[in-house]
Structures are given as C-alpha cells and as structure tokens.
Amino acid sequence: MRSFTPQKPAIAVFAGLALVGALAGCSTPASDSAAATTGAPSTSPSDPRAASTYKDGTYTESADYQAPSGTETVDVTLTLASGVVTAVTVQGHANDPQAKLHQGQFASGIAAVVVGKNINDLQVDKVGGSSLTSGGFNAAVEEIKADAAA
C-alpha cells in the first residue's frame, strides 16, 4: 500500500527508487573507500541516457505498512541531478515506535551509503554513540602508542 504526495509525479518516483536500487547494487567497487565520508554523486554505469530521462528535482514517496499498533508511515525523499541520485533521506513516523515487527518487515530497510552531517548543525538533545569510552581503556591505548613510538 503506497501513497504519493500530490504534487509529485508518481512515475518519476518509481523510476527514482529503481535507480536507488541500481546504485546500491552496483556501487560497491567504486564506493568502498569513500563510502563512509562522501556524498558525492555517483553515475550509473549501465545506461546514462536512460537515467537522463528523469527530471532533476526532489521526490518524496510515502510508504505505509501495517504494524500491530496500526498503520505506520515512512517517507523516502530523494534528489535527482542530471539523472543521478544525489541524496536520499528517510523519515519514519512511527505511531508506536516500539511496535513489534513481524518477520519480513525488516527487509524494507534501504541499504544506502550513509553521509555524515556535522552534529553542531543539528538541533539535538543528546548524542548516541560510543566516543566517550572508558577512561582506563583510552589511557591504556595511549600507553601502548607511546610504547610503540619509543
């Protein structure tokens, strides 16, 4: 069950999502080293002319799925430039974020290369990560580095 935001042409959205799949499928050799840090556009190696038939712009698709708590929605926004996907954003709108998922629903998570944004540019309350690790551990690593340099 899918719905589209009214101002967007549905055909282009489908084409765009197909393109995302194609990029995800064939980008491995090119993006291995740069994957984690770059959001630079990559080109589709298969048929550039086919890609160029998509109009530049930003497209949004909303997808609904059934959770035990009711209907949940996820929005996928992607940006096309010169027929190439340059950005994908996924926004979840879980009514019940802890809704228990059934098997198979996890498969719809998109495996896309992630792009880091500066935390200072985000309006957030907290940072969830592991950078503040144990002081003892960090001290030990520093000691080993010093030993290795001696």
Partner: protein
C-alpha cells in the same frame, strides 16, 4: 580522552549532574535539581552494582566466580540481567553470551587493560554446560568468567532512572556515555554519532524511552581485535561496525545493540520489541521501518 562537547539545543532540563562511575562519564539532566542525598544514593547504588558485576575488580562477585565452581547467591538486580541475557543467547543461537569474559581476557581486554592478545581464541562454554540460573542463585560447574558488558551499563542506566522517578522526578534524561534513558512527556532528539567521525552524525532518532549504541571502532587495540566477541568462535565480530537500538528499557536496548552485531534483526524481532539502525564496514546502513527518526543517506 573525551571528544569536544557538541553543541546541543537548549533544554528545559536545566539542571545537570555529571560524574564518573564504572570508568565512564555520566550525566543526569533534570528539571528540578537532584538532592545531595539522592545523588549520594545513586553513587552508592552504582558502586553496589560494580561490586557484583565488574570483571575488572578483584573483590567483585564475578571475579570470585571466575576462580572456582559453586553455588552463588546474587543480589535482586540479577534476575532481569540474566533473563535478558538468556533471551539474547537463545535469539542469537548462542553467539551472545555472558560467558565471554575469558575470551576477552585472552585477547587482552582484561583487568589491567594489557591490550595484548595471548594469541589464541578461547572456546566459550555453552550456557547449559557451564551454568544454571534458578532466579536467585547461579550454579557453576566450572570456573566461568562472566562479562555482562553488553547489557550491564544499559541496565544501570535503567536503575538510575528508576531511582530518579521514585524520588519524584518526572522529566529527565539519564546518559551513561551514550546509553540513554528518557523519562518525560516528550521524546528527545538523539544524534546517531558517526562511528568513524565523532563530530558527525549519520542520522537523528526521536527517543521516548531508551537508546543504546555499540561500535567496534572505539575500543580497538589491534588488528581486528575489539570488545564484541562472538561466543561461538571466541573472536571479535567484523562486518557490522556500529549499531543503535531503541527499546522500552536501556537494558534491552543495550543488549540488542550488541546482538545486532551477531544476527539479523528479524531473529531478534520474534523475541523483543525495538527499532534499530546498523552500519556496516562498507559505509551502508540498514534500519527498521518502525524507526522514528531520519538517516542521512
């Protein structure tokens, strides 16, 4: 040793209590100040927890258990932790185990942080071959090195949250170095820290209860050596480099964040209610469709 402070948005929770405990930084953000007596009680409670569970303390209960088999009485905080571990152990087909302490020691993640591998993988004993848990006592048939590092800190975040709530606090955040419990009327926005660049985030999650994360890159001390051990091989995991799990409790979120290194999420979804994000070594991310938040991809 710490990253520079990130710029966070202004908060109604204007009172903040920061301290070091179990070797890491804690921050409790509250609307009303935390009374000194409550702060002292929290410190005592954390010390009690550490005295039971710390593998790195010679006087801890788990250190004594590691030396000789026997029947060991545990304090009242033990059942929730053992039960959660048992569920995770079953859901991961034995990969996630509380019996990885010796494997971590052998790899150098030991009491003295020697960070020098003994060169051999340790065969982690199967749960039912080594220990029996009856709800309050643990029977061990051989010396076992219990390590609850994969869920223990999350559980401690829950315990501290419960103490704040019991004292009348209704709007607060407990942050145990990135393992976070939110209690209050509105969710908080939590940046998902990029595992390769602490100044950046790969997304933002709206968290109304608990979020915990795990990443292998931050505690790495040699080629392929880190602290997330697969109990079926005794060796560190490789393909997944960071995970975030959101659940009703930090205990479950912490355990799930580790379990997501071992198995795909659908295996865990049969047993636990959660949402998640995980990132792989090739820079791609995977997330659950019930994720409340956004990813920058």
């Amino acid at each position: 040793m710490k990253r520079s402070r990130q710029t966070l948005r202004p908060s109604q929770r204007s009172h903040s209590l920061s301290f070091e405990a179990i070797g890491t930084g804690w921050q409790l953000d509250t609307v009303e100040p935390i009374e000194p007596a409550l702060a002292a009680a929290i410190a005592d409670r954390i010390e009690d927890f550490d005295r039971t569970w710390s593998r790195f303390r010679a006087d801890s209960l788990v250190s004594r258990i590691s030396k000789t088999p026997g029947v060991w009485e545990f304090p009242p905080d033990a059942p929730a932790l053992f039960d959660t571990y048992r569920r995770l152990y079953a859901a991961t087909d034995g990969a996630m185990s509380p019996l990885v302490g010796q494997a971590l020691d052998n790899l150098g993640y030991d009491r003295t942080y020697s960070l020098r591998s003994s060169g051999s993988a340790f065969a982690v004993p199967a749960w039912d071959d080594a220990i029996g848990w009856d709800g309050h006592a643990l029977t061990t048939v051989l010396p076992v090195s219990i390590d609850v590092g994969a869920a223990g800190k999350g559980y401690l975040v829950d315990i501290v949250s419960d103490m704040l709530a019991a004292a009348g606090h209704e709007d607060f955040v407990v942050d145990g170095s990135g393992d976070i419990r939110r209690v209050g009327p509105t969710p908080i926005r939590v940046a998902l820290e990029h595992p390769l660049d602490a100044a950046k985030a790969i997304g933002v999650a709206n968290v109304g209860a608990a979020i915990c994360s795990s990443a292998t890159n931050r505690r790495t001390w040699g080629d392929g050596l880190h602290h997330v051990i697969d109990a079926t091989t005794g060796l560190p995991t490789r393909a997944v480099i960071a995970t975030w799990a959101m659940a009703d409790t930090a205990l479950e979120a912490d355990g799930l964040a580790t379990a997501l290194f071992f198995v795909d999420a659908e295996l865990l979804a049969a047993e636990f209610s959660f949402s998640y994000v995980r990132m792989f070594a090739n820079g791609t991310v995977e997330f659950s469709p019930n994720l409340d938040g956004e990813l920058f991809t």
